[in-house]
């Protein structure tokens, strides 16, 4: 019966379904079909056999990851950094969106927004170049300025403690412009009558923000955070690789799954080993997103993703 119903529904709304078709095809081709390639992780890849013809190798491809003795360390680092990034990113994006929404001067609003969005378009390669020029020991801007005041130069690239702060700062600097647009859109969608009623009741700006804007932003925030958690094991490879690279002094503090895999495999091009790491990340991400979604569901069914 249900199938008949679906068929009837498709026939009735065929224009709507047609409109959906391109995006469905897009996801099928670029997201669902390639999933089959995951079997490379369990194969001893060779060019003659290709994806399907190569011999099976069981769990062998996963061995290197655990042999390095760093599997736990990098998993912990990846999750740790991503959670901190996500928290900072959400907090600052919401804060900036609210500031911008409350601003009266249109000109200042637009300018501020443009400047904040700019870093989003700068690639990490370029960021890495100027970060090096800021922080390098001999001629870095920071050490030159310290030198003018007669201080001792500091070796930023040699001390992990600075990077616990620098990395989140750079992350937020790069992404906050983009994030604030999302939240700003949500704020613009809030019914203005709520604010008008609040003003008549004598609410101050801060009270309006606290009692109206933030509660109404909650669903958006939760969905974005959930989506962010879905990527929690996918490290921001570009950023770590470009800013830190093969810096052995920082390595234990800043090594994430992606950089470890890259470093291990850059000399041995092997699709199987690389896919094994991807598989490991995907499975953990899947588990995490199910768990978090379940937790959100317990708290409030409306807020969960599915």
């Amino acid at each position: 019966m249900d199938e008949l119903k679906t068929l009837y529904d498709i026939r009735k709304h065929k224009v709507l379904y047609m409109m959906f078709l391109p995006i469905a095809i897009y996801f099928l081709v670029f997201s669902y079909f390639p999933m089959a390639g995951i079997i490379i992780a369990f194969k001893d890849y060779n060019y003659a056999g290709g994806i399907w013809g190569s011999a099976w190798s069981g769990w062998d491809n996963f061995a290197y990851f655990f042999k390095s003795g760093k599997a736990w360390l990098v998993t912990r680092n990846t999750i740790g950094y991503n959670v901190v990034f996500l928290a900072c990113y959400t907090f600052f994006s919401v804060a900036v969106a609210i500031f911008i929404a409350e601003m009266r001067s249109k000109w200042f609003k637009k300018t501020a927004q443009s400047f904040m969005l700019l870093p989003y378009f700068v690639s990490w390669v370029i960021v890495a170049a100027f970060v090096y020029n800021l922080f390098n020991y001999e001629f870095g801007v920071v050490n030159t300025v310290i030198g003018w005041f007669g201080g001792e130069p500091i070796d930023i690239y040699g001390s992990p403690r600075y990077w616990y702060f620098l990395l989140p700062i750079f992350y937020v600097w790069k992404w906050v412009g983009f994030g604030s647009i999302l939240y700003l859109a949500a704020i613009m969608g809030i019914d203005q009558e709520c604010y008008e009623a609040a003003v008549i009741d004598g609410a101050t700006v801060f009270k309006k923000i606290y009692y109206i804007t933030i509660p109404l932003l909650m669903p958006t925030m939760i969905i974005l955070v959930l989506l962010g958690l879905g990527r929690v094991l996918r490290g921001e490879f570009d950023m770590f690789y470009q800013l830190i690279g093969n810096n052995s002094m920082l390595m234990d503090a800043t090594d994430i799954v992606d950089t470890l895999v890259f470093r291990s495999l850059v000399g041995t091009p092997d699709f199987g080993l690389a896919s094994a790491a991807g598989f490991y990340q995907s499975v953990l991400c899947f588990v995490i997103i199910l768990a978090v979604n379940g937790a959100v569901k317990l708290y409030n069914k409306e807020y969960s993703l599915f």
């Binding site: 060019y47 003659a48 290197y64 170049a129 390098n136 690239y157 690279g245 291990s264 091009p269």
Partner: protein, 542 residues
């Protein structure tokens, strides 16, 4: 309504299918007739020409009646003047063998990802630059390349075949099969360091013959040149081998490393017995060299953040920011030119061992391979025969267009044409990635200093040493996991030791060996030694 539309949909689909099928058929039918009609004339022309070129009358003419476009990849970036060179190259190739060449580049930055990708999808690729430093052995053993036989090379590449030492084919074989057309001349490429002679003389430092003599030079630079770092090193591979050169410096015990896995053998030991870095006599040599590096690092002669620096020492040297640059005898040529224009007096320090010897480059350090499944291997080989071994082609792809990119002066030396500087030259020598042509045909450059010309001569005369393992290719396919794990251990624990950025050299060496053993060091060592023994055995029985 819906019903009719559905039917119409089926019809359209059918029509499309039919049309495409018909198109396919007609194409198949057409091809032979089309090529048949145009074949007669060019075949003859080519046949007579190739016969006259090889002067071997018995060879049957090679059929080149069908015009083909040969698509292939080189490493690096296309120089600005490439289109002109390609146009000229193609007009010659079209006439000689009825083929054209299409050249694409794999950039350095995405080399490790893009190169294997090209090999998986060899549909349109006819040839690709390959080399041991691009994992030639690994790719070949996984079946990425087409097998080439000596007969094929003899038939399609006669000029090349005549000029090459046949030993090369053996050396470039993997599991007994050849997958590469190796460059016919082993390059005189040995590692060198360049220093600023003008500054050395200015501060009254004695001549520097070897790396370990550098300390007073570095000290003078550090004291007197505030805008310079004595050695501004980077994470670039050529900058990370300074310690090994210091080790080789120490005398009659030149060593060769196995991929930086913490293993080495003495170059002149015919059995090539492997030693771990923590075994004597290797250990004391290593500790001494690492100790020197640490002294220099602590004194500020070496920049602290070398691992995050992306400007390699040679470029920093060229910009006047570093007092030393690391290069090889080929890559340094461009810098000799620009240095001369800037008024540097560049002095070269060949990085050889205490006895003045260095390992001769491998035959597999550059060549052309044909991806498995390529459609025109014969024509590709014919084109490569010309590019590699015919002097006019070779000069064209390596130096560009005569009169525009280079001229030969009255002494027969290579010069830039009047009005062109090394900056404005649209096709600098060596920059286009044709690193597999016959170097023996090249002229000397007018910009080369006497010291450089002498060095090239010395290299050919007495510096190159054929170690016991020349021509051997390691294959660690069965130990992928161990290799990967050891690679990360090397980066984290060995690299800082070799660069002097550790607190205590002894302790750092112990930590590295400890971690390496966990990662599978012993397995790799056993496997490497097994392959070495087998190779030495076959070599001595020959």
């Amino acid at each position: 309504m819906a019903g009719t539309r559905k039917k119409m949909g089926h019809f359209t689909l059918l029509a499309v299918l039919l049309a495409s099928m018909l198109a396919g058929c007609s194409k198949n039918n057409e091809t032979p007739s089309a090529s048949g009609s145009s074949s007669a004339a060019p075949t003859k022309a080519v046949a007579t020409e190739s016969a006259s070129a090889t002067s071997s009358a018995s060879e049957p003419a090679i059929d080149t009646s069908k015009e083909v476009n040969l698509k292939g990849y080189l490493i690096g970036e296309a120089p600005k003047g490439l289109p002109e060179v390609v146009t000229e190259l193609n007009s010659r190739l079209k006439q000689d063998i009825n083929a054209t060449l299409e050249i694409d580049y794999v950039g350095y930055s995405d080399m490790s990802t893009k190169y294997p990708l090209i090999l998986t999808n060899s549909g349109g690729t006819d040839w690709i630059y390959s080399a041991n430093w691009l994992n030639y052995v690994q790719h070949a053993s996984k079946g990425a390349f087409m097998e080439l036989t000596e007969e094929m090379i003899k038939k399609y590449m006669p000029t090349y075949y005549e000029s090459i030492d046949k030993e090369a084919f053996k050396a470039a074989s993997v599991n007994g099969k050849l997958y590469m057309v190796p460059a016919p001349a082993r390059s005189p490429s040995i590692p060198v360091a360049v220093i600023r002679g003008d500054l050395r003389k200015k501060y009254g430092i004695a001549e520097i013959k070897r790396l370990s003599d550098l300390a007073p030079y570095f000290e003078a630079i550090k004291k007197n040149e505030p805008d310079m770092i004595p050695a501004a090193l980077s994470s670039n591979a050529s900058d990370l081998t300074m310690m090994y050169s210091l080790m080789a410096d120490q005398g009659q015990a030149p060593i060769q490393l196995i991929n930086g896995y913490g293993l080495a053998y003495f170059m002149e030991d015919p059995t090539a017995k492997l030693m771990a870095f923590d075994e004597e006599p290797l250990k004391s040599k290593l500790l001494q060299a690492a100790g020197t590096m640490k002294e220099w690092y602590d004194a500020g002669y070496i920049n602290r953040n070398y691992f995050s620096n992306k400007v390699n020492s040679l470029d920093a040297f060229d910009q006047g920011k570093s007092s030393i640059g690391f290069a090889n005898t080929i890559s340094v040529r461009r810098y000799l030119d620009t240095g001369k224009e800037k008024g540097y007096d560049i002095e070269l320090i060949p990085l050889v061992d205490g006895e003045g010897k260095t390992m001769a480059p491998e035959w597999t350090s550059g060549g052309i391979s044909i991806p498995a499944g390529a459609k025109n291997p014969e024509r590709t080989l014919m084109a490569m025969d010309r590019i590699i071994s015919h002097q006019d082609y070779n000069y064209l792809v390596y130096f560009g267009i005569e009169g525009k990119n280079y001229v030969l002066n009255s002494e027969g030396k290579l010069e830039l044409p009047p009005g062109v500087t090394s900056k404005t030259n649209t096709y600098p020598p060596d920059a286009a990635g044709f690193w597999f042509t016959d170097l023996r045909q090249f002229p000397a450059y007018a910009s080369w200093s006497d010291q450089y010309i002498q060095l090239l001569k010395d290299i050919q005369d007495h510096m190159l040493y054929d170690g016991p393992l020349t021509g051997m290719n390691f294959n660690f396919e069965s130990l992928k996991a161990e290799v990967a794990a050891l690679t990360t251990v090397r980066t984290q624990y060995l690299l800082p030791l070799t660069m002097g950025s550790v607190k205590d050299v002894n302790e750092a060496l112990n930590t590295f060996m400890e971690k390496a053993k966990v990662a599978g060091f012993q397995k790799i060592r056993d496997e490497a030694q097994k392959q070495i023994d087998a190779y030495v055995q076959t070599k001595s029985s020959k």
